[in-house]
């Protein structure tokens, strides 16, 4: 069984179906990968503006919106200067074979 247990109470990055990136502490999950994130923030990447974070507090992410959940190396993360990173928005996961 591929469980999310090792990620519990860890800082994680969550990718959603519409291409957004959420960061937060994983407080809980269930079988359908519904997630509870605390001290969550959304990180917005843009090709012409520096990366910015928007604070969202405690939130639930519905399972069907989740693409991936990853833990990360905090040292590497903290030493990354996101104000100098420009990137295209990720595509969503819906019907992207059509376009």
């Amino acid at each position: 069984m591929s469980t999310l247990k090792p990620f519990l109470n860890e800082k994680v990055k969550v990718l959603t179906a519409d291409g957004r990136l959420l960061l937060g502490v994983l407080e809980g999950f269930d079988r359908t990968t519904n997630l509870v994130l605390s001290s969550a923030k959304e990180r917005i990447f843009s090709i012409d503006e520096p990366t910015k974070d928007i604070s969202m507090g405690l939130c639930i992410v519905r399972g069907n919106e989740v693409v991936s959940i990853s833990d990360y190396d905090e040292q590497v993360e903290d030493s990354t200067d996101y104000s100098k990173i420009f990137a295209e928005k990720l595509k969503d996961t819906r019907n992207s074979l059509i376009d």
């Binding site: 990055k13 990968t33 991936s68 990360y72 992207s96």
Partner: protein
């Protein structure tokens, strides 16, 4: 699970959002949810994955899993599939 025991190696994934992720298969479940270790992605293109160590991917978002044909022994796989089918059904499978 046969799939897991057989593909415990390096796999390449393509997600429905066109992101490609390579890593070592750690575990997999009945939804095809997958956990990868030693994750490698094009971080310059996708800074979303900066500093990422291991990743859990929801099965529903996976488009392809690429396997290196050289690492797949079809005879061994055939045998293993038979054995698993036999074990799960309890019936005797008549060989070729």
């Amino acid at each position: 699970m046969l799939f897991f025991s057989f593909f415990k190696t390096l796999v390449d994934q393509e997600l429905k959002n066109d992101v490609k992720i390579t890593g070592t298969l750690r575990s997999i479940d009945q939804y095809l949810n997958i956990k990868l270790d030693n994750v490698q992605t094009d971080v310059a293109k996708y800074p979303h994955f900066v500093a990422v160590r291991s990743v859990f991917i929801r099965g529903s978002t996976i488009r392809y899993i690429h396997l290196n044909p050289n690492s797949v022994d079809t005879n061994l796989l055939q045998d293993a599939s038979r054995r698993e089918a036999m074990a799960s059904s309890g019936d005797k499978i008549v060989g070729r």
